[in-house]
Amino acid sequence: MPVTTIDGRQVHVNDEGFLTEYGEWDEDLAKALAAQIGIDLTDAHWKVLRFLREDYKAKGETPTTRRVQAVGGVPVKDQFALFPRKPGSKMAYIAGLPKPHGCV
């Protein structure tokens, strides 16, 4: 696994650039990750990201967009508006989690 420097600190990532260590993430890092893919984080983004972090901690896997709607309470349509085109993997990236592997 490569180590890369983001926001002045070294973090472990996979070949695509997704963080691989849950504990290396914090909210400052999220801002830097978001900026790298052209997203400016608002409260609405944070609601999704905090749900992702909590759900991953509880379930051991990254929630899908469906689950973010059904359990996290953020409609899929809003997720597309917040994380354009590829909400599932973009929000996982910013939350420092692996891509969701669920199909739905």
Binding site: P2, T5, Q36, A70, P87, V104
Partner: protein, 175 residues
Amino acid sequence: MTTTQPAPIIPKFDDEEDAGRKLAIICSKGNLDMAYPGLILGNAALGEGVETHLFFTFWGFDMIMKSRMHDLKFSPAGNAAMHLPIKDMHLPQAIAPAMTGMATKMLKKQIADLGVPEVPDFLDQIVASGGHLWACRLSADMMHIHDTDLRDDVEGIISAAQFIEMTKGAQLLFI
């Protein structure tokens, strides 16, 4: 092996290769089990930023008809791959026709247990994700179905030629 990268590795979310990618899915079946493949793949494609069109034809109309979409059925009849819940024993086909109600209930439960929505709800999600729904002109004419019989978010009843024109350059799936 650990390698240190001087520059950050940024995922290629907006790859040029993917720009303009389109998927067209023809949904021609009205059985509960055959409704899902198109929904799952269409939903996945939308999540990857792919422009997605679902075209409903023949029995596929049951997925988008207001009066039928909540009541799709799964029948083990005629399905040689249908097994009993116990291991790999085949379901005797002679009793299969009588088992539609039970089999539908079981399948719905298995789908719900995975957090997968029911068909109408799934189509809501696909539309919310930017997917497009179309209905087949010939099937509608043949079965005397009007746009008022269909989900309000079906964008139109179109001919095969219009569909072909609209999906120029798309990858195509027939289900």
